[in-house]
Amino acid sequence: MVILAEESRLERYTMGILPYLILAGFSLFTHPEETQVVVLNQLNDQSITSIHLLLPGVNELLPIEMPLSIPPDESIKVTVPWGFINRLIFRTDSGTVYYQGFFAASSKPDTIRICLARKEFGGVFDRIYGTFPIAVRNRTGVNIASVLVQGDSLPPGDILGRNPIMPGESLRLWVTSTEPCSLVFIDLDGFLSDTMIVAANPDTIYELTNEMFYHNGTHHSTSDPGYSLTIANCISSEALVSVEVLDELGNSALFFDLTQTPLGTWDRLTTQIADPPSLVICTDSEGREYSLDRPDSISGIYDFDLLSLNFDFSFPEGQ
């Protein structure tokens, strides 16, 4: 029993001291809160004017203090938080954005070279006018050529630049406040979308849809009894000249020859058939065939875009 008592005392002392020992041990090896990274400008004719960070689990963009812009072939040391950085975004005096994704800032000196390989080629387009995010995803079937914005501290005119936002890609607009602002998107043909009222919110992804462009086109419709379906032309600079609807057995249930009144970009046609269709086929003015076996899950409209074009596995004609 005495031995047990001795053991438990020893245990008690040990357990009491151990956490302090562990903490002391860790304090010798803990990393600093910040570290320095060299940013080298390897761009030929642009100066880097701003650097922002997007840290994991943080909703706001973190600006990095820069005393001066970084001219070509020169470098500066910047202080960044120690640890993993989701994205470092660099803006140049020409308004072009470059980025370095998934960067681990450690105590080991590191250099980030800003060069053409770091350019924002697509996917996500960051446009920085503040630190609060507004994300908009292009869910349309067309390339977005320009974006006009209106709101606090936002510049007039197009903020996108040459490189379009393609279907599935996103615009990430960083603004100064959570006050609402308005966005208008312009497609390749110059058609304007409905105005989108948005406000900074890290948990929201706004979606630009085909429906926001429909007002640019004409809506043709019939009013017969039966199942109603709407077909929309969401192909830039292209007209649809025929529409065919197949039933479940693959038979033609309806055919419209639209050669005289083609469906232009953003035009729609609403018509009725006896049963829900199994396939809707359209032909464009070049004779190319597009098909869809189901409507858009949100709008319920058969939105024909470039990706609806039929893949053709057959050998070239005449062989």
Partner: protein
């Protein structure tokens, strides 16, 4: 039901490939008897004679411009009829086979299961793997489209060797569309593996009771299951080299008195099929050297001439076009015309060097690398090891010595194709023969059948359920493939995914429908070109476009694009090129509406851009 994955597609592919072999067999028998080839090439199987006949036939058909999808299948069908009658006659004559015992029935059932597993897998068009879609399936396809064999300017792979491509024209011609064409070529490859093993056992006179288990062991090998179901040259090189070595051994056996030319000519066909078949020259030479030294001077010269004649013809053609007979690999640089000199971008060289730092995570220790090499051989190395031990056990040094040339070849293959985690694939040519030779060395033993049964069980059990050296194909997946093909629907509930396509394939298919005919796409990095009916030039591969990856001005780049007639440029939007090569391609700084590269479509991040001339582009 998917039109490319259905019982009907599967049976059609198998039936069409059977027609091809019947045509080869029928024509081969006729040619052998008419031309008296039995004497010159006594060990050459009839179907191989027929295959060579059909390859020769491609030349006049090409000159006449009728090497197409009408004439070729008609010829196949016509020649398959005598083939069918001859096979039927042989079957009728051999009906007096004795009744199989229970073990043979079991072997038979296993073999049928293995056949179903392998051939259903082969019948699924593989549109994920690059090589066939870069060149091997492309050339037969393009030749059939134009009715003639021609030098495909957009790829450096138009030269030596081309025996596979000229053979592949025949199965390809039976296809109903480009997807089905891949299926047929793949099933044809698997049939080559089957025939290589079967015929080499026949040539070496391996005990017939061993045939089914040995065939099962070979076909079950994971690497062969994977590589021999691809529409590429490997299986044909395997077919020729396996037969050549089997013939070489048989030709030096005591009872053999015929002409020794078969092995030399067939080895030449292997070299005319794939450059890496050179590794098979090591065992071939070691097996042939003794009998070769005993030949008369004329026979020696003739044997060497037969070895080099077919690869030599391709070499001459390639030399006429490029200056070097072995272009694009191992080119004789002094002979090479300036236009064809290749300057691969440094980043690409670094990536392609599998022992470079870029592949540091796979820099295993030597012992593990050797283990990986032999692990890939699965049942084949077990058969060889068992045969070797049996020969040692019965103190038959002559038989035991037969394994030594293979051991030398293994060592050479490890060294030449270092590191083995990557280079093992070039050694698959050695696998079936290793298994067959092992069976040959076992077959005089009393316990041979027991040993082979155990090896067969291990060949099913270990790679199928436990572990495998490379990319695993566990039995659960193999069965899933077979059942999915036979049901016509992929069962996704198992967690295994169907072979994915790639965005560049989809983009090419889209481009077929959307772009003007005869458009030219420059692909900055991805190499596939099969599905596009126009031209796809792979930037870093082509001698002219490789200059794009140097530090040029935008004017220089545009002049290269003009020279090549490029209309569109394709690349992954988020990461156009390997490492930081983007820095040297100025055109990537000009992507946009009205810019030099104007985005047209994006499919799963793969972007296709229309090229505007520098003058037309908006600054």
């Amino acid at each position: 039901m998917l039109d490319w994955m259905s019982p009907l597609s599967f049976f059609q592919s198998v039936l069409r490939v059977a027609i091809i072999w019947l045509a080869f067999y029928g024509s081969g028998q006729l040619v052998r008897h008419r031309l008296g080839l039995d004497k010159a090439f006594p060990l050459m199987p009839a179907e191989l004679t027929g295959l060579i006949t059909f390859v020769l036939l491609t030349v006049p058909l090409s000159f006449l411009g009728i090497l197409n999808r009408i004439v070729c299948p008609v010829l196949m069908l016509v020649f398959s009829l005598p083939g069918l009658l001859m096979v039927y006659a042989r079957f009728r004559d051999s009906r007096t086979l004795r009744k199989p015992d229970a073990l043979q029935i079991l072997f038979g059932l296993v073999f049928v299961l293995v056949l179903i597993l392998n051939f259903t897998y082969a019948s699924m068009p593989n549109i994920a793997f690059d090589d066939p879609l870069i060149t091997y399936a492309v050339q037969p396809d393009r030749w059939l489209n134009s009715g003639r064999i021609f030098w495909l300017e957009e790829t450096v792979f138009s030269g030596f060797p081309l025996f596979y491509e000229m053979t592949a024209v025949w199965p390809a011609s039976m296809a109903s569309n480009s997807l089905n064409q891949l299926s047929l070529l793949q099933v044809f490859q698997m049939s080559l593996l089957l025939l290589a093993t079967l015929r080499s056992m026949s040539i070496l006179q391996v005990n017939k009771r061993f045939w089914l288990p040995v065939l099962s062991v070979v076909l079950l090998t994971t690497s062969l299951y994977n590589w021999c179901s691809l529409a590429k040259t490997d299986t044909m090189a395997l077919f020729f080299s396996t037969l050549a070595i089997a013939c070489a051994i048989q030709q030096q056996s005591k009872g053999f008195t015929g002409s020794p030319f078969t092995s030399w000519f067939v080895m030449g066909l292997a070299l005319a099929t794939k450059q890496t078949a050179l590794i098979m020259l090591i065992p071939f030479t070691l097996y042939s050297i003794k009998s070769y030294l005993s030949y008369s001077r004329n026979i020696k010269i003739l044997a060497i001439a037969l070895l080099i004649v077919v690869p030599g013809l391709y070499g001459i053609r390639t030399m006429i076009m490029t200056g070097s007979p072995t272009y694009p690999f191992y080119s004789v640089s002094r002979m090479l015309d300036d236009d064809w000199v290749l300057h691969h971008p440094e980043e690409q060289k670094l990536f392609n060097d599998r022992s470079s730092l870029i592949h540091e995570s796979k820099a295993f220790p030597l012992l593990k690398q050797v283990g990986i090499f032999f692990g890939h051989m699965e049942g084949n190395i077990l058969l060889l090891a068992a045969g070797f031990l049996f020969a040692l056990g019965r103190r038959d040094w002559r038989d035991a010595a037969l394994a030594i040339p293979l051991l030398v070849a293994f060592g050479a293959a490890i060294a030449v194709f270092w590191p083995p985690w990557w280079g093992y694939k070039y050694s698959i040519l050695l696998y079936p023969f290793s298994g067959v030779l092992g069976a040959k060395l076992i077959d005089s033993s009393k316990n041979g059948l027991t040993v082979i049964s155990v090896i067969l069980a291990l060949s099913i059990g270990i790679p199928g359920f436990v572990a495998v050296a490379g990319d695993g194909q566990p039995f659960a997946r193999r069965l899933l493939v077979a059942s999915s093909v036979l049901r016509g629907k992929w069962d996704s509930s198992t967690g295994y995914s169907v072979m994915p396509s790639s965005p560049e394939n989809s983009t090419q298919l889209w481009a077929n429908s959307a772009l003007p005919e005869n458009s030219t796409i420059l692909s900055l990095h991805e190499e596939k070109r099969y599905f596009f009916n126009g031209r796809v030039i792979v930037g870093w591969r082509h001698p002219i476009s490789q200059d794009l990856y140097l530090d040029n001005t935008i004017e220089d780049e545009m002049s290269i694009l003009n020279e090549l007639g490029v209309d569109y440029v394709g690349f992954y939007r988020s990461n156009p090129l390997l490492l930081d090569q983007e820095n040297r391609l100025r055109m990537l700084d000009s992507i946009g509406v009205g810019s030099i590269l104007e985005p047209v479509i994006i499919i799963e991040d793969y972007l296709l851009c229309r090229v505007h001339s520098h003058q037309d582009a908006t600054p």
